[in-house]
Amino acid sequence: MIKIGKTCSLIAILFLHFVGTQSVLGQDISVEATLSETNIFSGESVRLDLSISGQSLNSINRPQIPSINGLRWLSGSTSQSTSYSYVNGRPSVTYTYGYSFVAENPGNYTFPSLPVDVDGKRYSTKEISFKVLDPNSINKGNAPRTPDIYARLEPNTTNPVVGEQVIASIVLYFKKEVEVTSYNPSPGWKAEGFWKEDLENNQQIKITSTLIGGVRYQRAILMQTAIFPTKSGSLELSPLEVVVQIRDRKRRRDIFSFGLGQERKEIQTLPVTINVRPLPPVDAVYSGAVGKFTISRTVTPTKALVGESIEITTSIYGEGNIPLIVKPEYDFPDALELYDPSESSKINRSKQQISGLKTFTDIVIARNEGEYIIPEQKFAYYNPDKQAYSTVNLPPLTINVKADPNRKISNSKELRFDVNPSTGLAYWVSTDNTSLTDRTWVWFLLILPAFALGVGFIAKNYNHRLNNDSAFSRSQKAKDIAWKGLVAAGAATTLKEGYHLLEKSIYQYVSDKLNLPKAGISAKELTEAVLEKTDNETAKELKRILDKCETISYAPNASQEGLEIDIERTQTLLKKIGKMV
């Protein structure tokens, strides 16, 4: 026999030591929250790191981020990292969850304590005080701290007239230590009250150096957009968000370009107020053009035939609010038929401004011969450089119209209305515009063929089985044959013959229904077969009738009435067997 007592004791001691160590380790859990910056500029992004450290962490329930005054949580930007370390020779793990926020209104705020459940126990972080600073204080030079990077929306003028081209630049300011690896202005920037046209932006961004509040910054124009105010008054350009990837130059260089040490930042520009002046009144044809333009008007053809289409083309070429110019209205002679005008424009977005050509084409048709004159017209546009309207004289246009020699003489008849009212008996119909789907009979007719197909299919299968499955065929025909036999039994001339036919019908029916051999089966076998498929009572009744059929020759009180009663009982019995089988 082998002694195992010492070994068991050793295992027990080791187990207790392990369990004890685990419970001790489980108590070394620390939960800490830190904000990447506590003096945050409005619109600037800030990161909250929630670190949970311990030597053994089995389950962590991350906290739900509550609504925080002064900060807006960017819910899609949560990150997670894990680090391992040895503290006093013991392994330790730290889970860090990062949450990004954007600072909102300036003021002093407190980041509340966050509850975290670790291994079923609740821990709480400490509250963090932070300050949201007014970004305008950066330019004034009185900000408590200078941000490493920020963006501004800079229009070339803040006092334009309605329709004047304003170039809005999105400018990034960043310190020399910061390296911007990529930028992406968020799409869908809305400039309410302005018509917006994107300009062609240079792929190579030019960086200049500038002093702001005594701090040297790098200045880069990321993109430029042309905006045209569509109404007068104080209009606000809403903030635009730019997502940038930055890297601190002071840190270790990422020689393999793995993106190490990069940080993603969401930066918001400040809202900008534009005071839009109304246009002064004008005494000429004005179609909303503001800028510097060359305007001309032509007619083609100048010699036309009656019924031929004539095009009057107005071309406006230059720099300014090309997309907003509307068609000038001319005084056409009444005898000309006017058709829908067309317009086309060719916009050039290069050279940091919108320029191009806009063409309006009026289509007219003369229905009679003669000389038609479209009178001289003064066309005005507002020139922002001169702060006044410039007027262009559009000379009169003359169109000579001659009769078409190939046209059939039918004008006079066509232009006379000689349709007489319809009187007398009219053929009346009822209006009915009910949808097909609202008509019940449509659905009924749709179901009908499917139903017919279903019935036909069942009948086809029944027929097929009747012809190919003898047991099924016998079972289906059993009733008809048995009933004929019972009728014959009722009509029999003698009692013996009657009971003989009755017995034969029972044998026929039961053997057909139960697929038993047609001949050579005894009453006992028949009763047992029925007993297997039905109940005791039915089998007993069957036995009684069969016994009577066999012993009728010896029965002293047999009568015709008795036979009829037995036929009725047999019918009931066979129906019962038929149902149960």
Partner: protein, 254 residues
């Protein structure tokens, strides 16, 4: 039972005949007003008949004539177009339409419809979704009958399976076509601008940018499904292919 059925048929026929007689009487009265030169009275009387649901080509033709007399050419075009849907008045209505169209000072450029749209429009106007459906039903019943007969008495036909598939597919496609025709008919309605001019806007709002002006007599197509989303506005397609919103008061749906 038989008596009850006969009585029901008689009652239904009496109602139908009664409605027609009533409409004819009102029509005769309105014609008298037209003859006497009371155009507005005649137009109102014709409108009363139209509201009963009993319509005829003669009714719309006379309404168009009255509209010409009261110098409402957009309305006249609307009624003549309705009259042109009836065989009895098609020639007079077309003649009147030629005249009315020649009187509009502004005309819309017409972008021709695509062949498929033309085919569907023709089916809606000349056949109707109900008739297309009935054809589809007949074809489907026929194909089901052939299949059932073949089950019991196999038919000696060459390429039988292909023939069955062809008939079945044809019937299903015809029924689908009927529902598509019905959908297009219910969704897109033809209309006419009856006001002197109606601004067409980019959005269903009076403050929205104006795309253009639809003048009296312009034919429009109204998307009723899109229009349902903005009460008090129609989403339309102009003859030149432009889409926009108008207020319903200046137009009439055919």
């Amino acid at each position: 039972m038989r008596a009850l059925i006969l009585l029901s048929i008689f009652w239904m026929f009496s109602c139908y005949a009664g409605a027609q007689t009533n409409a004819q009487l009102k029509f005769d009265e309105a014609n008298t007003l037209l003859k006497e030169g009371d155009y507005l009275g005649a137009l109102n009387a014709y409108r009363d008949i139209e509201e009963t649901g009993e319509i005829s080509g003669s009714l719309f033709l006379n309404m168009g004539i009255v509209s010409v007399e009261i110098d409402s050419l957009g309305l006249a075009k609307y009624y003549f177009l309705k009259a042109s849907d009836f065989e009895a008045t098609i020639s007079e209505a077309n003649e009147a339409l030629t005249y009315v169209d020649s009187q509009f000072s502004r005309k819309s450029a017409i972008l021709p419809k695509l062949p498929w749209d033309r085919a569907i429009s023709s089916l809606i106007k000349n056949v109707g979704a109900v008739h297309v459906f009935i054809w589809g039903f007949i074809l489907m019943t026929l194909s089901v009958l052939i299949i059932i007969v073949n089950w019991f008495y196999p038919l000696a036909l060459p390429k039988k399976s292909i023939l069955f598939i062809f008939i079945c597919s044809l019937s299903v496609l015809t029924i689908f076509l009927a529902f598509y025709v019905d959908y297009v008919d219910q969704r897109y309605k033809e209309g006419i601008i009856i006001a002197k001019e109606v601004p067409v806007t980019t959005q269903p709002s009076e403050e929205a940018d104006i795309l253009g002006i639809a003048y009296e007599g312009y034919a429009i197509t109204i998307d009723t499904f899109a229009s349902e989303k903005s009460e008090g506005w129609y989403y339309i397609r102009l003859g030149n292919g432009q889409f926009g919103w108008i207020q319903p008061k200046g137009s009439k749906i055919l």
